[in-house]
Amino acid sequence: MLQNALPPDSQSSQTLPAVRKGRSLNPLTWLGELSESRYWAYLLLLPSLLLVVAVIVYPVFYGVYLSFQQFNLLRAGLGMKFVGLQQYTELFADDDFWVIIKNTFVWVFGGAFSQFFLGLVVALALNRKNLKGGPLARVLLLLPWVIPSVVAGHMWALLLDSRLGVINDILVKLGILTSYRAWFADPATAMPAVLLVDMWRGTPFFTLLLYAGLQSIPEELYEAAEVDGASGWAKFRAITIPMLTPVIVAAVILRVIGLVNSPDLMIVLTNGGPGLATFTLSLYAFQIAYENFNFGAAAAVSVIMLLILMVFTTLYLKFSGVTKNT
């Protein structure tokens, strides 16, 4: 990696008098002298740019290109064949596809809303002054966020199990349920159940960011409002929400990107089922690629995901108005 920071050929070293004199043979010294050249700022950026171009930018364009090709990795011998928009038209003609689109919206908006709301409530509670045990609670509340999705999935599969699930047991003992339920096998409860698991993992992210955002609001604003006799709700609406908006927007965008892109929980918990009840676009793309190796069709699904994300981000940024000030 380090070599990337160096000019690959002797041409660029002509701009470096010290090197031309051949004074330094030690590579560290040489690097040190290189850092005095006027290209240093760019040289520092070079390795990261190379990596990003190779691993992200190029693959994205390649992926878009693939979506116009017929290409199956299992039949790679047939090579690629340009089919234009055929992959897309086939998708649009498929009724399942529209069910999956609908599921994706339920998953993404259900997830983002529930996690944002719960995260905000918890962040406001943590933000009370003199809350005893606050620092410890903050760390503990953050824990689910660093648990691997696979482990989180299996934990909840056990908790919600139809025979051995402790949640069933508690609900029955409390009299809320009369008998155990198969949460993930029932089309009516499968999506809410997966959303609950994601709420467990995703809420701490909102709590963390919103709490930090609340902490950065100057105390004087509230004091001034109190002098003017503002009620708690008025303070919340006139100070907290506007001051928090940039954080909210950033957090929601990041979480939506995460929700659109990761099929992890579905892979572990339901595999899209029962029927198509929890099938989302990311899982669909992944299955076409991983199980059928039909990379052309999978790429087309991914491009649709990218387009949805781009439209969402643009609209959201526009309507939230955060870009106006900055």
């Binding site: 990696m1 850092s35 005095e36 240093w40 700022a41 760019y42 520092l44 950026l45 390795p47 990261s48 740019l49 990596l51 990003v52 691993v55 992200i56 190029y58 693959p59 390649y62 992926g63 693939l66 990795l73 409530v121 406001l124 509670a125 809350l131 509340l141 953050l142 824990l143 660093v146 648990i147 691997p148 696979v150 482990v151 299996h154 934990m155 056990l158 051995l164 467990w200 701490p204 930090a212 950065s216 954080v247 957090a251 990041l254 990107i257 659109v260 892109n261 990761s262 992890d264 892979i267 572990v268 793309a285 690629a289 991983y290 990379f295 999978a298 790429a299 991914s302 995901m305 781009m310």
Partner: protein, 286 residues
Amino acid sequence: MAFQNFRNSQKAMRRLYDAIAYVIVACMLVFALGPLVWTALTSIKPESDIVTNEMQYIPAHPTAEHYIKLWNRSGVTTMFRNSAFTTTLTVVLCLLVGTFAAYSISRYRFRGRGGILTFYLTIRMFPAVLMLLPLYIMLRNIGLLDSLLGLALTYTTFSMPVSLLMLKGFFDAVPADLEDAARIDGCTRLGALFRVVMPLARSGIAATAVLIAVGAWNEFLFALMLTNSESSRTWPVVLQLMVGEFQLPWGLIAAGGMISIVPIIIFFAFAQKALVRGLMVGAVKG
């Protein structure tokens, strides 16, 4: 008198709000920690106590049998090593490359700086699945498919934008005067970076390292797609595949889950303060 009443009612309101805050935090703690506690309890119950008609809340016969069984399973130590190696390599590469880039953006004002920053922010939006397919083909062509190096390079790149933003925030906080002083004393710019800036930003760098490590350790989708032999499978993938293939008993799954989150919790406890600060910087600026 009226004022006194007002003060009292305000005090009462404050107490009420405090009480609500405690209730919310307590409920949330149960929600956040309950599943972890339950998994831990399950992992030390013998299988006969897990599969029962009457739910057993406190393990009656605590045992380490699941942990021992899991550890002796073929391939488990290999994949643990794989995960550790990939994670370490990712952290080293990402910190190295990210530090250079973050330092450049933090310290220098050059043409295209704003554009590069925006670019790093927008690339976070690209769907992983879209990159997954081309990456699969590319890595296969250069012989890095099914290798830990290929996986680490991928993780490095995906972690870079966030770590770059975090690191930039930490570098911004180091006063430039200190560097200038070192430069007057004959330090090169590179020397000043390594001898002055990095030591001062070390808690921030550690926090960034933890974030990168957690991401690499937990990653599932790419690891599943880009590796296919036991010699390069990582922990989450093997855990998932074992469950699928062998219909693993719950005790083993719970033990596997516990083993895999222990390193994360240790890391996390170690750097949580700076981690929170850095993430905040990254998200708000982002």
